[in-house]
């Protein structure tokens, strides 16, 4: 026994050696760049000459000068991007959740070919986001798009609809594409949770003649709730940083610009490293806050006090 505990101690020492290479890489690729971004957000650095800049405090975030407010917190474009991001995140995640549960319940039925169905569900997820964005951009094309042609054929619309062209419809379209791409993923998570549920409960409910809808809300939903909560958190954090779908489908158009698109535009297109870093730091702060709340409330490693 003492030999084992001595080995445990030796192993604890070598544990650090084993984690070290990974930690060094993460420090280089995450911690250091993040620290630099936060530092740059307090400067007026530009991309033209990133080595010469002045420290300007919090001026990129909020500053008052000669009767006017400056900084991202008063920048209508940034606030607009914040609003867009929140709308996108809430709308897409709630739709994905509801549809994901419905699709999981449908696919959970014991019919032949369930394996094929599950495979079909992985297809939208496997298609690269840029490719999905391009395919949908083509399908939603106002003149030659198949969506308009089908809707017109069914008599649902009179003339071509400009899905992606500068109106609030653009955001609707983006949400729709994200829902198409990500709902199957949510559905697969729900499906995995559904398949761990004990069959006896459902037998009992059936024998007692309880209506299936009631069974769903009273039995199924409470049992799969933990899985749903995790899915929602991950999807929300993912949606808050949305970049590629929006960037490819509508570029930097104001109606759909998200915080990530705004930050990259300031950084790369406007070459304003200071301001762009401030915008990225703002987004990081929001996501970090959400992550801390998630870890504090749900404790994904469990509550045991072990090291």
């Amino acid at each position: 026994m003492s030999k084992i505990s001595a080995i445990e101690k030796a192993r604890a020492r070598s544990a650090w050696l084993f984690v070290l290479p990974m930690l060094v890489v993460l420090a280089l690729v995450a911690a250091w760049p993040l620290a630099r971004t936060i530092w740059f957000s307090l400067t007026n650095a530009t991309l033209v000459d990133p080595t010469t800049y002045d420290f300007i405090g919090f001026d990129n975030f909020l500053a008052y000068d000669e009767g006017r407010w400056y900084g991202i917190l008063t920048d209508p474009q940034w606030l607009n991007a914040l609003g867009n991001t929140l709308i996108f995140a809430v709308a897409s995640v709630s739709l994905e959740l509801v549809l994901g549960v419905i699709i999981a319940l449908i696919v959970n039925a014991a019919l032949p070919g369930r394996g094929l169905m599950r495979a079909a569900m992985l297809v939208p997820w496997a298609i690269p986001t840029v490719v999905s964005a391009k395919i949908w951009q083509w399908m939603l094309n106002d003149q030659f798009g198949v969506v308009n042609a089908m809707l017109e054929g069914a008599g649902l619309i009179d003339g071509p609809v400009a899905w992606l062209g500068g109106s609030s419809l653009a955001m609707v379209s983006i949400v729709m594409v994200d829902v198409w791409k990500t709902t199957p993923f949510v559905a697969l998570l729900v499906l995995a949770a559904l398949q761990t549920l004990p069959k006896e409960i459902y037998e009992a409910a059936r024998v007692d003649g309880i209506h299936p809808v009631k069974v769903f809300f009273r039995v199924t939903l409470p049992l799969i709730k933990p899985a749903l909560v995790v899915a929602v958190i991950f999807r929300l954090l993912d949606a808050m940083r949305m970049f590629d779908l929006v960037y490819v489908m509508t570029g930097s158009s104001e109606e759909t610009m998200t915080l990530s698109v705004f930050a990259r535009q300031a950084l790369v297109s406007f070459q304003d490293v200071g301001y762009g870093s401030a915008a990225s730091t703002g987004l990081f702060a929001i996501i970090a806050l959400l992550t801390v709340i998630y870890i504090m409330t749900l404790r994904p490693l469990g509550r045991d006090s072990g090291a």
Binding site: S14, V25, A120, A126, V131, Q143, A231, F234, F284
Partner: protein, 277 residues
């Protein structure tokens, strides 16, 4: 009773078809469009009347698209090998050893996996330039670690933790070093988990867009997603939709094949990744 069950199953099967059509139609339509050329593209019917492979030829000859595919493959393979190599040892420590700071480190790694990529963009850009990696594939292999490492470490740790103690005890009693134990005992046992996480890391790297767009400049260094996003035709305002759809089909087919072959493993890995972080 039998009639009712039949009706119910029939209704369910119909729902399945609706869901499947909704999921698969966009890709089907991309295939149809990729087989159309010229004015046939503007015909929105659902069947290619006069299929042609001209778009595929155009993409492979007019563009450095073959190079782009090779770039994506190189980057994705290197990312997989590097992140699995680092993660196997880290996850052994996290999953099997008790040491101070283990919990905090794991939470930090989970936190990193939530990072918005744009938050490290300016800092990474500086490092990439400092090492002279701008417009080089190495900049992508390096920067992709930020999303593949946390994920592989987290999932492999949960696999490591679930392996029985007895496996290791015998080796420890024989006086094997931790290094030997990882290589000889755990690596073979982890093989299925490595396939799953490796595949997920491969897909993530293959699909990445923001870093690839920001750290590469010339067409020859681009990866597939950037090449497709920036594919332009004769004029700036006229997108070559046929070519774009052909390129999309080319890069998606292998992924769909992979996903279909490894279906069960992928679902298991995805749920492990989500449930346990």
């Amino acid at each position: 009773m039998r009639g009712r069950a039949l009706l119910k199953n029939g209704a369910m099967a119909l729902l399945w078809l609706v869901v499947a059509a909704f999921l698969l139609f966009p890709f089907y339509y991309a295939v149809v469009s990729s087989l159309r050329e010229g004015s046939a593209l503007f015909d929105a019917s659902l069947w290619p009347s006069d299929p042609t492979f001209a778009n595929y030829r155009a993409v492979m000859t007019d563009q450095p698209f073959a190079t782009n595919i090779l770039n994506s493959l190189l980057v994705a393979f290197s990312v997989v090998v590097l992140s699995l190599g680092l993660a196997v040892f880290a996850s052994y420590a996290f999953g099997r050893a008790k040491f101070k700071g283990r919990r905090l480190l794991l939470y930090t790694i989970l936190g990193v996996s939530m990072f918005p990529q744009v938050a490290v963009l300016s800092g990474l850009f500086e490092i990439v330039r400092l090492f002279g990696l701008y417009n080089s594939l190495l900049s992508l292999v390096f920067s992709y670690m930020i999303f593949t490492l946390p994920f592989t470490v987290w999932v492999l740790t949960s696999f490591m933790r679930d392996l029985p103690v007895e496996i290791e005890e015998a080796a420890i009693m024989d006086g094997a070093s931790s290094w030997t134990i990882v290589i000889r005992v755990f690596l073979p046992l982890l093989a299925p988990a490595l396939v799953t996480t490796g595949l997920l890391a491969f897909i993530a790297a293959w699909n990445e867009f923001l870093f690839a767009l920001s750290f590469t400049l010339t067409n020859e260094q681009r990866t597939v997603p950037v090449a497709i996003a920036l594919l332009t035709g004769a004029s700036q305002y006229e997108l070559p939709w046929g070519n774009i759809m052909a390129a999309s089909v080319i890069v998606t087919l292998p992924l769909i094949a992979l996903v279909l072959v490894f279906q069960r493993k992928l679902v298991a890995g995805l749920t492990a990744g989500a449930v346990k972080g």
